[in-house]
């Protein structure tokens, strides 16, 4: 049964304005905030309020996104751009969904940022408040753009604004390095996108309007050139999303950025790449050969496994979260690949199911990864420490942060009744249905892929146990500096919003799926039908058929709560008054201290042993006579050495060769021009 959402929403607007105009107004609002920030250096109070205004803009944007999702597509042509090349904006269901994602996650993160940025020094704050709204506006424009030109401009604005946000603490060389790497890969990706749009435009030569998405949609697309465009787009968007092997910037840039920025980058910016991938392959390209899907599926699975394995061995909490983002992107792209496979095979219903799962996961990831980065940021802000080897027991000092982060950790670990479970369950349902495919090879291989997704999900849970356990449980591993302060109210409210998103998305999947229906209808001409018909439809989710598998999170929650209550009551009854506080048995070894707890390195050790071949481990083993020994093990990516180092070396060698031309003597430079001149003269007059 399809859930009917109250469709009166768009009529709230005045009859003559369309959602896209409101969206443009929202973008303008953010741009105005960015433009105002440098002038507010004197007015510190106003400046500190700017993130809250960003949050308001984000909330409005979420509402506009919702309207765009439900209303018919609307478009405007902006009065500027280059001469004869105006910007086109369009808000259809797909844009609406991602705008909703941007607004909803952006609202929570910006609220959190209001508290987080409050303590910054005024000059730095003015800089951040210049780039932060610009970053939001860039992302919104990427989603709204309806021509290649506006898209690329917005894409670059987004990349540059986030680059400057990443390098907020540019006094630290490592951060500058991370920022450069990010900028480099972002631009390589952007070049690929530019080429992809160029190829797409190729079918519609001769018209001034050829650069609009509408023209690309209608263009004649030869299968070969369509594939070229797809591969370029996969490369370009993959570089932004962090697909292996273009992921190297992600574990560097995410930890370097201030936490709200990490949350936005991971939660929202990576999704713009997913948006772009969906837009290009389903909307702009008319044909979708099955092998695209196989390729994307393989890339996604490799990314998911690679990401989660590396997440498991990290000992820096923000780096761990960054690797976990890579894993989630991998899962989303694997879902994208499967959607393509089903779509090419003519299995519309299954394509709709997979598409729903991947969109759902994108939405979920925005919430829980935003929440986790916010929680990690709160700990970082309180202790000044990112290394998990120096943290521990934070739950006693920061209960709000700890409990809210726990919700995020449970959600990302894929535990019911939270949201992570729903999307991963839907995706696995889709994988289990592949025997219906007409290609026998795929039929045989895809169960392995399903196993890989399941493995990634299980390892993600392992990673989260490590993250939460080491940071928040146990005892502090290092002396706590001064008095630890719990996150302030704006931070808490932001995290509460995100946590509420995780819970609600988990509890009401039928409603969420109904919300996603316009998008799946747009891209695959089909919607996911909830088979749990009748009155149970709002409660029960059965994506394929109610005989096969169904899931009712509310009932699940109810059962969990009832069992918890019963156990609680029973324990109270049985043990009431008999509890006493005493030292636990110390195994005959009385000198236990916090340093004997399992450490981040220790927890990841099994994974490191198993997947040793993929990693480059740098160990620092302490001296046996050191009274305060510190063990440090840093696992790095081998791909860096295998893939990037040779390219960097080649570039360095080529530049050295070219550098020989540079003598520093002006005469030589003159001779170069002279010889060129003579050559050209001979050449021209021949």
């Amino acid at each position: 049964m399809a859930i009917v959402f109250p469709s009166g929403f768009p009529t709230v607007f005045p009859p003559d304005s369309t959602p896209v105009e409101f969206a443009w107004a929202g973008v303008l609002f953010w741009l105005a905030l960015a433009a105002a920030a440098p002038f507010l250096r004197r007015a510190r109070g106003l400046l500190a309020l700017a993130p809250a205004l960003c949050a308001l803009g984000a909330l409005a944007m979420a509402a506009i996104g919702l309207a765009g999702l439900l209303a018919p597509a609307s478009a405007i042509v902006l009065p500027f751009g280059l001469p004869d090349l105006p910007f086109h904006l369009r808000l259809d269901a797909l844009s609406g969904l991602f705008l909703l994602l941007l607004g909803a996650a952006g609202f929570g993160v910006s609220l959190y940022a209001t508290g987080y940025f409050r303590h910054m020094e005024t000059g730095a704050l003015a800089m951040v408040m210049l780039w932060y709204p610009l970053f939001l506006a860039g992302m919104a424009m990427v989603i709204l753009a309806d021509d290649a030109y506006a898209f690329m401009v917005a894409w670059e604005v987004m990349a540059l604004a986030s680059y400057f946000l990443v390098t907020t603490d540019h006094a630290i060389p490592d951060i500058r390095r991370a920022g450069f790497l990010y900028l480099l890969i972002a631009h390589i990706g952007a070049v690929a996108l530019l080429l992809a749009f160029g190829v797409l435009q190729g079918g519609a030569v001769g018209e001034m309007e050829a650069y609009t998405f509408a023209a690309m949609r209608d263009a004649e697309q030869a299968p070969f050139w369509a594939s070229v465009a797809f591969l370029l787009a996969l490369f370009g968007f993959g570089a932004k999303a962090g697909l292996v092997p273009m992921h190297v910037w992600l574990p560097e840039a995410h930890p370097a950025a201030p936490s709200p920025v990490s949350a936005l980058m991971s939660g929202v910016m990576l999704k713009t790449a997913i948006y772009g991938l969906l837009r290009v392959s389903f909307d702009l390209l008319n044909v979708q050969p099955g092998w695209w899907g196989t390729l994307a599926l393989a890339l996604g699975l490799v990314t998911a496994l690679y990401g989660v394995i590396f997440a498991a061995v990290q000992s820096d909490m923000k780096r761990l979260l960054a690797w976990s983002s890579i894993e989630n992107i991998g899962i989303i792209v694997a879902g994208f690949g499967l959607t393509l496979i089903f779509h090419a095979d003519g299995k519309g219903a299954l394509a709709a199911l997979t598409l729903t799962a991947l969109l759902y996961h994108a939405l979920n990831h925005a919430f829980f990864k935003g929440l986790l980065f916010a929680g990690a940021g709160a700990v970082l802000h309180a202790t000044g420490e990112r290394r998990m080897g120096f943290l521990g027991g934070m739950i006693r000092f920061m209960p709000w942060t700890a409990w809210l982060t726990l919700i995020g950790a449970l959600a990302i670990a894929g535990l019911p009744p939270l949201n992570g479970f729903v999307s991963e369950w839907l995706l696995l349902q889709a994988f289990l249905l592949t025997p219906g495919l007409s290609q026998p090879y795929l039929n045989m291989v895809i169960p392995v892929a399903a196993a890989a997704v399941a493995l990634a999900a299980a390892l993600a849970a392992y990673v989260m146990v490590k993250f939460f356990g080491v940071v928040f449980l146990g005892q502090p591993r290092a002396p706590i500096p001064g008095q630890l302060h719990e996150a302030g109210w704006p931070e808490r409210l932001g995290m509460l919003w995100l946590a509420a998103g995780c819970v609600l998305l988990g509890l009401f999947p039928p409603q969420v799926i109904a919300l996603l229906a316009p998008v799946t209808r747009l891209l695959t001409n089909q919607t996911l039908v909830n088979d749990a018909g009748g009155a149970a439809g709002w409660l029960l989710l059965a994506p394929v058929s109610s005989e096969r598998a169904s899931y009712a999170p509310l009932i699940f929650l109810l059962v969990v709560l009832v069992v918890l209550l019963l156990v609680f009551v029973w324990v109270r009854r049985v043990h009431h008054g008999r509890a006493r506080r005493a030292d636990p048995w110390d195994c005959g070894f009385p000198e236990q201290d916090a340093r004997m707890q399992d450490s981040a390195e220790g927890f990841g050790q099994p994974i490191r042993q198993i997947f040793d071949g993929f990693m480059r481990v740098e160990r620092e083993t302490p001296d046996p006579f050191d009274p305060h020994p510190q063990y440090r093990g840093d696992s790095r990516d081998k791909l860096w050495l295998l893939l990037y180092q040779p390219i960097a070396d080649l570039a360095a060698r080529l530049s050295a060769l070219v550098g020989r031309l540079q003598h520093g003597r002006i005469q030589w430079y003159l001779i170069y021009s002279f010889v060129t001149l003579i050559f050209l003269l001979v050449f021209v007059t021949r």
Binding site: G659, Q662, H663, G664, R665, I666, Q667, L670, I671, S673, F674, L677, I678, L681, V682, T685
Partner: protein
């Protein structure tokens, strides 16, 4: 050739003479070692240019060329040489050091360039419809010779003079091939040259302050290792 013979009226013969003078001065500049002598030669070259432009203007009735001639006279014969004389006196850099290539070799290369330029100009001047088209080869030769001077000189002021001489050659090419550029363009170019000279004048002081010499080989130190 009858048309040619009738076209070579008295004033045009003077123009051809001045063109030859221009080329001669270019060679003289190549061989001149003293900076002051170079400036004088540059002023003479400007004078020849102004005169030939004026004659072309008179004989063809192109009135805007009078303005060009006046501009050339004011800038290249009076203002800039005066400016350079002052500069040389202020900076005390009269003697040039040994150029990179010795002077006889430079002259030989120069002769090769002139032959090349004439060879080059033949097909072009056949297309040009002006009475002065025969001088196009000379104009190109003086451009190339000025470039050569820029290459062979190691000090800053001779190089700038080489640059200006190159501009003279271009100007002459414009006059001989197309009766000069539109006045607006010429004014713009003149202004550019003025600005360039002033900027370079400031640079001279900066270079000397930094390296204690105007010898450009010191600028090699600026190269990134």
């Amino acid at each position: 050739m009858t048309e040619m013979d009738t076209a070579l009226t008295y004033p045009l013969q003077v123009v051809n003479l001045l063109a030859a003078l221009l080329l001669l001065i270019s060679f003289a500049m190549l061989s001149q070692r003293r900076v002051v002598g170079l400036i004088t030669l540059f002023a003479w070259q400007g004078a020849a240019l102004a005169l030939s432009t004026a004659i072309v203007a008179w004989s063809t009735g192109q009135h805007h060329l009078y303005y060009s001639a006046a501009l050339t006279l004011a800038l290249k014969v009076i203002a800039m040489p005066w400016f350079f004389y002052r500069l040389v006196r202020r900076l005390d850099v009269d003697r040039d050091v040994e150029p990179m290539i010795n002077i006889p070799t430079t002259m030989l290369i120069g002769i090769a360039l002139v032959i090349f330029a004439f060879n080059l100009a033949t097909p072009i001047s056949q297309m040009a419809g002006t009475v002065t088209r025969a001088t196009l080869g000379i104009a190109m030769a003086s451009v190339l010779l000025a470039f050569l001077m820029m290459i062979t000189r190691a000090k800053a002021i001779p190089q700038v003079i080489g640059f200006l001489a190159m501009e003279n050659g271009l100007f002459f090419a414009a006059t001989s091939a197309t009766y000069g550029m539109p006045l607006v363009v010429e004014l713009g170019v003149a202004l550019d040259v003025m600005v360039a000279v002033f900027v370079l004048g400031i640079f001279f002081f900066q270079i000397r302050e930094t390296f204690d010499s105007l010898d450009l080989k010191h600028m090699e130190k600026l190269k990134e290792k």
